[in-house]
């Protein structure tokens, strides 16, 4: 009976994706993409992956939308061409379509051919009590396959470095939002609750769907909405320390565990939960600031009137120094 729901969600996803791809104007494509992100989050839930659904709701329906809109605004300034030039030959689209078709056939075929193998789920469930957490996703990410997560966080960090290197001379985008009491109300409501919600997801990540990435994404959302409203901060938000603390703590944990137990990222017995929580906290903070940094590079603002002024405008001087 639930197949009706799944089928309708899948149909709407495909329709929205088609609209997003074939829409003539980029702004409409962006809007369709935001709705698409929300629907994909629902699809993840129907597929039984609530952790990914939370991350997708935070990033796909919130952050990516803001990022694309800010990038669109900047493209308007740069007067980039909206749609690409007409393709001169049919070879490239044809080959890509064939490749996608082959890939789809492969995936579908392997779905139908897969014997009743539950994958590694049984193995994970056996060793779950020893991992220090009771959420299998967190156990896999931060205990069984923690080296992969270390590399993923390193990749995220390198991405931030690369984008920062490219943005030495980015244009100042004029922010259009006026200081409005409703915006202040939204900020007063959303920001503290986001901080608490992120901390909550970080904490329950050990037993329920949640974890470092989801918490980082929500915190990044709070930072992004403050950036959009031109809040001045007491401390430098583009703080290099905050950006690298995730990777730093992870590497420190790797070295420390090597020294303690003789094997990299093999947590000492009965201490696993403490190590995992420490790494997750640092990673969440880092992810939040890295995502915020990725957003800021595309949307640097010169405000006319600040919405809520907290302290002296260090941000404006930083922007003036950079340009």
């Amino acid at each position: 009976m639930l197949a009706v729901i799944d089928l309708s969600i899948a149909t709407i996803i495909i329709i929205i994706a088609a609209f997003s791809l074939f829409s003539r104007k980029i702004l409409s494509s962006i809007i369709y993409f935001i709705a698409f992100g929300l629907l994909v989050s629902l699809a993840w839930i129907r597929l039984g992956a609530p952790d990914v659904a939370i991350a997708e709701a935070a990033i796909g329906a919130g952050l990516t939308g803001a990022l694309f809109l800010a990038t669109w605004k900047r493209l308007q300034r740069v007067k980039a061409p909206e749609t690409g030039e007409a393709a001169s030959s049919i070879v490239l689209p044809l080959s890509i379509s064939l490749l996608s078709l082959l890939l789809t056939a492969f995936v579908v075929g392997s779905i139908f051919n897969s014997v009743s193998s539950a994958g590694l789920a049984s193995l994970v469930n056996e060793t779950l009590p020893q991992s220090g957490v009771s959420n299998p996703v967190t156990a896999v990410l931060l205990n069984f396959r923690s080296f992969d997560t270390l590399l993923e966080i390193a990749v995220l960090f390198l991405t931030m470095l690369a984008i920062r290197a490219l943005a030495i001379d980015f244009a100042i985008v004029q922010v259009n939002i006026k200081s409005s009491i409703f915006l202040q109300g939204i900020l007063a409501l959303v920001v503290p609750l986001s901080i608490i919600a992120g901390a909550y997801l970080l904490w329950i990540g050990s037993s329920e769907p949640g974890g470092a990435f989801q918490a980082g994404a929500i915190w990044a959302g709070a930072l992004v909405i403050m950036q959009l409203a031109n809040i001045k901060f007491l401390f430098r938000l583009h703080n290099n320390g905050l950006l690298s603390i995730g990777l730093g703590v992870f590497i420190f944990a790797a070295i420390a565990t090597y020294l303690l137990t003789g094997s990299v990222l093999m947590y000492p017995a009965d201490q696993a939960k403490f190590w995992i929580l420490a790494i997750e906290t640092a990673a969440a903070v880092s992810i939040a600031f890295i995502l915020y940094e990725l957003f800021c590079v595309s949307h640097s603002s010169v405000e006319t009137k600040p919405a809520v002024s907290v302290a002296h405008d260090r941000m404006a001087t930083e922007g003036a120094n950079k340009s």
């Binding site: 409005s180 409703f182 915006l183 109300g185 939204i186 409501l189 959303v190 609750l193």
Partner: protein
């Protein structure tokens, strides 16, 4: 038994309000009126649905969480709709008001 009837009633009302909001979004002539239909109808629909789910939940803390979720959505969407309405250009809003007088 009463619980089932109440739940069915609440779900019915909630769905009615949600569909009314969506159809209002389709059929109203102006951005401001669409905003009006959307915010009011959707939030009442969400209240009915959240209440219907909350009264059937075993864990009372999750019921409380659902009610708080509805309050949060109510506050955020009213603030957002005021924010959007502030940005709709004035002549359009005034013209709609004049047309209806």
């Amino acid at each position: 038994m009463i619980l089932d009837i109440l739940t069915a009633l609440l779900f019915g009302f909630g769905l009615f309000f949600f569909l009314a909001g969506s159809i209002g979004l389709l059929r109203f002539p102006d951005v401001i009126s669409r905003l009006h239909a959307l915010t009011k109808a959707d939030n009442v629909g969400l209240a009915c649905i959240a209440l219907a789910v909350a009264i059937n939940t075993e864990n009372w803390m999750i019921s409380l969480k659902l009610m708080l979720l509805w309050l949060l959505v109510l506050m955020i969407s009213s603030l957002l709709s005021c924010l959007i309405a502030q940005r709709v250009p004035k002549p359009q809003a005034n013209r709609l008001r004049e047309e209806q007088c």
